[in-house]
């Protein structure tokens, strides 16, 4: 071997096609810790670590066979003492006189190897981190999809709810019309003059009234307030209305009408205590010929009677509300009146604080026509509404007895 090549600052090796070492320079022998050349004639495997032997089979020989050269291949050599030496190898396949030789130079790369190990480690860590990130991303993606689905479900529910609301609103509006249709008109003739006001807190009211002319001289006026308000109360007002309309029109006595209404409520809730509703009510039977008024007040706010001189009387409650205690007796009270007097019947929605402001109002407006008084009362209701947020049904009936 050329002296310069023998001591070149890199290992030099020639191999046969089968991998047998044909020559090896001093530098490489020194690297491998062999004092003399005992390697020539040996297979190259004897200076390779086991993984390097496999790698040589898979890549080194294949590449030299197919591409005739190898450059910068990393492998590990095994020294005489079994030490692992990382090297970079360049090789060339050369055919001289029909014999193919593999010529290789090898450069140890311990420091670079450590550096590369660090790089590989960092790469692996980065890959792990990336994998973790992808995993988290995928989870977020899944969560996002779930949220999207939930959102769509909510939107659908909301739509259904909205449709339901519109439907319900329509139904309630229809029900309101039906309830108001059941209300009788005020009577205005040579004997009496009336104004009525009826306002539900919601679509439907728990208040109900009825005004009937029984014969030429007699008039029945009833005003009921079923506890609570809204749909359930309104349904009960309708059953009561159908009953009192028949009874009053037929001219039954005041206590009988009230007793029947009371019994009706008891019967209605006999088997369902939880649904039990009671109702306050006042019923007046006015006889314009005899100038007397029979009445029963069952737990209702007192009606106001003001005679032509402006003197006021309150028609206080004479019995507990309808539907509370069974077997209650309803005793009719009677008083005589002089013509020119004025009556006010109202539900507690009109005077929620029982402030008695209606009586002065009545007195103040004695000289005014009935519709003016109605306006005044409505005005006072509006004023109150600005102060309190009321949520009750409001009804009142004004009657002038001529």
């Amino acid at each position: 071997m050329d002296e310069q090549l023998n001591h070149a600052p890199c290992g030099f090796l020639t191999l046969s096609e089968d991998g047998v070492i044909l020559s090896i320079n001093q530098t490489l022998l020194k690297i491998l810790d062999y004092t003399q050349d005992s390697l020539t004639g040996q297979h190259v495997n004897s200076i390779l670590t086991v993984p390097a032997r496999m790698f040589f089979q898979f890549y080194f020989f294949s590449l030299l066979k197919l591409e005739h050269q190898v450059e910068e291949m990393y492998i590990s050599l095994a020294s005489n003492k079994g030490e692992e030496i990382p090297v970079l190898i360049n090789a060339l396949s050369r055919t001289v006189k029909e014999t193919t030789l593999f010529e290789c130079i090898l450069i140890p790369m311990r420091k670079r190897n450590e550096y590369e190990n660090e790089l590989l480690l960092a790469k692996k860590e980065t890959e792990e981190a990336l994998k973790a990130k992808h995993k988290v991303n995928a989870e977020l993606e899944t969560t996002l999809k779930k949220l999207q689905i939930q959102k769509e479900e909510l939107l659908e529910l909301n739509k259904q709810n909205h449709n339901y609301k519109i439907e319900t609103k329509k139904e309630l509006e229809l029900a309101r019309i039906i309830q108001e249709t059941s209300l009788t008109d005020p009577i205005n003739n040579e004997k009496v003059q009336m104004e009525v006001f009826y306002n539900a807190s919601g679509e439907l009211s728990g208040d109900i009234y009825g005004i009937y002319q029984i014969d030429q001289h007699r008039f029945g006026i009833i005003l009921l307030d079923v506890m609570g308000h809204g749909i359930s109360s309104a349904l009960i007002t309708m059953t009561l209305q159908s009953l009192f309309q028949r009874l009053i029109s037929a001219g039954f006595a005041v206590e009988i009408v009230m007793k029947e209404l009371d019994s009706h409520l008891h019967k209605l809730f006999r088997n369902n205590e939880e649904a039990r509703h009671y109702s306050t009510g006042i019923f007046l039977l006015i006889d314009t010929e005899r100038q007397i008024i029979d009445y029963v007040n069952a737990g209702h706010p007192p009606a106001l009677w003001q005679d032509s001189d402006g003197k006021q009387y309150e028609l206080f409650s004479t019995a507990p509300p309808l539907g509370t205690f069974e077997g209650v007796e309803f005793k009719t009270k009677t008083f005589t009146f002089s013509k020119g007097g004025r009556l006010l019947l109202y539900t507690d929605g009109v005077d929620p604080l029982a402030s008695n402001h209606l009586a002065p109002l009545l007195k103040k407006t004695i000289a005014l026509p009935l519709f003016k008084l109605k306006e005044e009362i409505l005005q006072s209701l509006n004023n109150e509404k600005n102060v309190y947020h009321k949520n009750d049904d409001e009804s009142f009936i004004l009657i002038d007895l001529k």
Partner: protein, 281 residues
Amino acid sequence: MDQDILFRNNVKVKGHGSQSIIFAPGFGCDQTVWKSVAEAFEKDYQIILFDYVGSGRSDIHAYDSKRYSSLAGYAQDVLDVCSALDLKNTVFVGHSVGSMIGMLASLSHPEYFSHLVMIGPSPCYLNDPPHYYGGFEKEDLLGLIDMMDKNYIGWANVFASTVTNNPERPEVKHQLEERFCSTDPIIARQFAEAAFFADNRSDLIKVTVPSLILQCSNDIIAPLAVGEYIHQHLPNSMLKYMDATGHCPHMSHPEETIRLIRQYLSMASIDVSLAGRGAHF
């Protein structure tokens, strides 16, 4: 014919003949390694070449890390190709782990194959003392995988860039890129793990398709003892010792490889025709 599979596995069909031969590459290789051997059979046989999903010019999008975490996934690639081409009684020639992949494929569909030719096969690379010598300890195999990482096998064109600088051989770069650069590093690593840590020793006895084992001299990857172990446990197998050294005789010693395969196939066809006449030996 399932075009998707043919595209997915980069299937190439060549040659003339009613009998087909399918060539399966070993670890780290694609179908180009069969160039010399396959060409020799083109005249008389239909030649089928393919790449496993993740290697060569296969469709990398079809890669499924779960499916290809074991050799069964690669065997399914072979079965898919056979099914797509409607192959029956084809000769399977596999190199290294490719022969084990073919053997596994033959277990689920023996009718696809007439013969298995195994070049440098090993059912298990790990030593399992005292009765089995695979040739390697676990750390050796891990060391190989590390060395692949260090040489950027599969993920950078280090080998290829070498050649870029060689103006005398411009055609080589393209070939190299085909061979080494079309494999994702993670895929290459997974294939290495699936191939080198597989243990298919218990499957050998179940094989019904007759086989030829080509055993190289001085093959450190599939040593003599391993070839003999397979021969002992594989029913209806023939073992041929090659003069060729190393692990890749189809590349390093194509002539001998071709000759032995030819010899086996002609013997096998006589065998089949005699067996057809009810002859016994």
